[in-house]
């Protein structure tokens, strides 16, 4: 146990030394004007590189470097979003509707043309927000359910018509497609028949697959009927269609993921080590 602790200390010291050296090299880069800016830039890039490698060390296993980066990430990012929320929502949206003096203090334009009732209405979220904070008082903590109820009501009320419109009706409408596109009779179909990717046969296959796929996919999601008989066959085709969908999404996503790694490694080699 003591041994591994010592080992850890040695590793940490070595890593620290390596990064300090890297910082010095970085700062000396472009020697002609080794100014304070260069030193600062060197430090910042070195820190970024250190954090990058610390995260990658997780791939080997949990270790103090990852833990350090993780804890720093949590602390800094929580404060980042808090600051952003404060300045953009409270100052950006609420303050302009309150009072010219407050708006003046934050040096933000006071919105004058808003009718009074739209100003007064802003009391509601503020009161609800304060009720939410009452959670910290054990005796009345149940009152924080009110703002929660407000939010849940909003979510349900707004999402129902939204999904109905864009995901249900719109998608059904999109599926009203002809299964015989550019159809000019059987004669023309057979005389021009080919397995070309841009030929009519391919187009017909596409549309039939979409049609059958959507219907069978829906059958798979059916809850109130046992998947047996013809229903079972349809639901089986439905699963297959879903599996193709998943496979396609996987194959398609991989490319984007690799380019993220290319980006990070380019940062390490180019911005930090200057070897590319």
């Amino acid at each position: 146990m003591a041994n591994s602790k010592n080992l850890m200390r040695i590793i940490s010291a070595a890593v620290a030394l390596a990064f300090v050296i890297s910082w010095i090299f970085k700062s000396m880069n472009g020697m002609e004007d080794t100014t304070w800016l260069n030193v600062r830039q060197g430090a910042l890039v070195t820190i970024a590189a250190f954090l990058t490698l610390s995260i990658y060390s997780f791939l080997y296993g949990d270790n103090p470097f990852y833990r350090f980066a993780e804890h720093l990430f949590v602390g800094v990012s929580a404060a980042y979003w808090m600051s952003l929320g404060f300045w953009s929502t409270i100052v950006g949206n609420l303050v302009p509707r309150t009072h010219p003096a407050i708006a003046d203090f934050f040096q933000i334009a006071y919105s004058q043309d808003i009718p009074t009732y739209l100003r007064l209405i802003m009391i509601i979220p503020v009161v609800l927000g304060i009720l939410l904070l009452l959670r910290l008082v054990p005796k009345v903590s149940w009152i924080s359910r009110w703002p929660l109820a407000f939010i849940i009501g909003t979510t349900a009320g707004l999402n129902l018509p939204r999904y109905l419109q864009s995901d249900f009706i719109q998608q059904i409408n999109n599926t009203f497609i002809t299964m015989l596109p550019a159809w000019e009779g059987f004669g023309s179909f057979f005389s021009n028949f080919s397995f070309s990717a841009s030929g009519q046969f391919a187009m017909i296959m596409s549309n039939i697959v979409i049609f059958v796929g959507v219907v069978c996919g829906l059958v798979y999601f059916f809850f109130s009927k046992e998947h047996r008989g013809w229903f079972g066959v349809a639901s089986r085709i439905g699963i297959w269609v879903l599996m193709i969908t998943f496979g396609a999404s996987f194959g398609y996503t991989v490319m984007g993921r690799i380019s993220l790694l290319v980006g990070r490694i380019t940062f390490l080699f180019h911005d930090w080590l200057n070897i590319l």
């Binding site: 990658y56 791939l59 080997y60 296993g61 990717a197 841009s198 398609y252 991989v254 490319m255 984007g256 690799i258 380019s259 790694l261 290319v262 490694i265 380019t266 080699f269 070897i275 590319l276």
Partner: protein, 305 residues
């Protein structure tokens, strides 16, 4: 490919064979090996600048052939409809189109429907068009029209009359004093419209509001995420499409192959594709190896029972 570009391929190949043998014997390959393998692949490919000769797929080749087969002096419109965030993917496409059009002695008209497109357009001019084609004359062989606000509304107007929206070019020179605009009244007078973009307005808007209405062929380049939405327009309304970095790389490699003068140009898309292609092959190999090992293990278990 130079010799040093083979180094990473050889290293990765040997590694894959080793993993395959291990899996074949039923030994477990630790996830850390898998991790370091993919990291190594990308890193080596980047360091040794591996590039593969991409071959244009039909949909990219169609766009290439169109520019290739137009008679010399045809009018090609190229619109920059993207922002810096998309630029790594689509900017190389725009540069390739410029190179190809200029090399074929076509007339090039540069537009932009995105405010951010204009600065990126400027980059193309200073980095590609002006240094590589000093013999081409502004106003005669190419012209910059720049950005106009109004999204697809702009297209609605210029489809019948360009001068109504653009009385002058980007330098405030009247179109009538630019020889390149002799006999050009509207989009109908063009031979090809190309939009490079990834959002709205983009290729789709050029197809619906310009190409279809003016009855002029449209080609396009688009970011990978929005490319699938454009396939339905191919080949009738959209004669060719470059999708994502891969599409851009295919076009670049066609240019290099067929034009000796472009042999030494910078090809950012091909460079980006090298590591990605290697990583893809490794992932495909992993799937294959994993399955071979799985079936072998299954047969073994069955024979033991």
């Amino acid at each position: 490919m130079t010799f040093q570009q083979y180094i990473p391929i050889i290293v990765v190949g040997i590694g894959l064979i080793w993993i395959f043998i291990r899996s074949w014997r039923g030994q477990d390959v630790d996830r850390r090996i898998v991790f370091s393998f993919i990291g190594l692949t990308v890193a080596l490919a980047l360091i040794f600048q591996v590039m593969f000769g991409e071959r244009a797929t039909a949909i990219v080749r169609a766009a290439y052939d169109k520019i290739e087969n137009l008679p010399e002096g045809s009018r090609i419109l190229l619109s920059y409809d993207f922002d810096p965030a998309m630029a790594p993917e689509v900017h190389p496409m725009a540069n390739s189109f410029i190179r190809h059009a200029m090399a074929k002695n076509h007339k090039l008209y540069l537009y932009s429907l995105w405010a951010t497109g204009q600065t990126l357009l400027q980059e193309s001019l200073t980095e590609v068009l002006e240094p590589e084609f000093p013999e081409k004359e502004y106003g005669k062989d190419w012209v910059v029209m720049g950005y106009k606000a109004g999204n697809e509304g702009v297209l609605n107007v210029i489809v019948t009359d360009i001068r109504k929206m653009y009385p002058t070019d980007v330098h405030n020179t009247s179109l009538d004093s630019l020889p390149i605009y002799d006999g050009v009244k509207s989009l109908k007078d063009f031979d090809l419209l190309i939009s490079v973009g990834g959002g709205k307005p983009g290729v789709k808007e050029w197809v619906l509001f310009a190409g279809d209405r003016a009855n002029v062929p449209v080609a396009g380049g688009s970011a990978a995420v929005s490319a699938p939405l454009l396939y339905p327009y191919y080949p009738r309304q959209l004669i060719g499409l470059l999708g994502g970095t891969k599409g851009a790389a295919e076009y670049e490699s066609e240019l290099i192959r067929e034009y000796p003068r472009f042999a030494d140009i910078d090809t950012p898309a091909l460079r980006m594709m090298g590591p990605q292609t290697m990583a893809h092959v490794v992932i495909i190999a992993f799937i294959l190896i994993g399955n071979v090992a799985y079936f072998r293990g299954k047969r073994k278990r069955r024979s033991e029972v």
